[in-house]
């Protein structure tokens, strides 16, 4: 698995952490987007994620490079899963290392915001009463 990847497999955050660990860093921040059971009081059974894989991987890498330029951080890894995901499963994992913690947090948060803004990935939500493609809610859905 590359450190900017779309994958069908379970995301193991520890592997992302191993990628970004660096002797010149004192801080690692990670983010995991997980499948929430209840959204606005409605129960989600599971999600199906679809990606435009080649483009999505290129954009993850571009966001990664942008983050490394913009923040005082060293390394970043970003993986998004596709296919069927049950509640509590990890849909996206990001890990960032930085010499100082402030930069690690800011870089990680910026990275997930960018992912949700324009990486070509979509989720379809399955509920007891039917299914639908989720519209972009980039500002804050998770």
């Amino acid at each position: 698995m590359k450190n900017f990847a779309i994958t069908q497999e379970e995301i193991e955050i520890q592997r992302l952490i191993e990628w970004v660990k660096d002797p010149n860093c004192g801080a690692v921040c990670t983010f995991m987007g997980t499948v929430r059971e209840l959204t606005n009081g409605k129960r989600t059974l599971y999600l199906e994620y679809e990606a435009y894989q080649e483009m999505a991987e290129k954009m993850l890498e571009r966001i990664g490079n942008e983050v490394l330029e913009k923040f005082q951080c060293r390394k970043i890894a970003m993986v998004h899963r596709v296919g069927r995901l049950d509640t509590e499963e990890v849909a996206v994992g990001i890990a960032v290392s930085a010499p100082h913690r402030k930069d690690a947090f800011e870089a990680c948060r910026y990275a997930i915001d960018r992912v949700k803004e324009f990486v070509p990935i979509w989720k379809k939500e399955y509920r007891e009463d039917g299914s639908f493609w989720v519209e972009c809610t980039c500002s804050e859905s998770r």
Binding site: M55, A91, P120
Partner: protein
């Protein structure tokens, strides 16, 4: 006559198929291509208008000229994460 191949995703992919072929005679812009697709699927005009268009894995503007071997994709509002 050439055919442009276009990838569709998510709700749009379900509605009109994941791979479209649009016959074209001349060079055209992204804007013109979008109009052509809407003409073929008028009942999905709104969904198509909501899409960004990517050419060779890059989001492009409406004025961009499409070349025959470009990989074109209609990108509905994303909802990853």
């Amino acid at each position: 006559m050439e055919k442009l191949k276009i990838l569709c995703f998510a709700n749009l992919g379900e509605k009109i198929g994941k791979f479209l072929e649009i016959p074209v005679e001349t060079e055209l812009t992204v804007h013109q291509l979008r109009e052509r697709i809407i003409k073929s699927y008028p009942q999905h005009q709104h969904t198509i208008e909501m899409c960004m268009i990517a050419v060779n894995h890059e989001y492009v503007t409406e004025e961009t000229i499409i070349r025959k071997d470009d990989q074109i994709a209609l990108i509905p509002p994303v909802s990853g994460g």
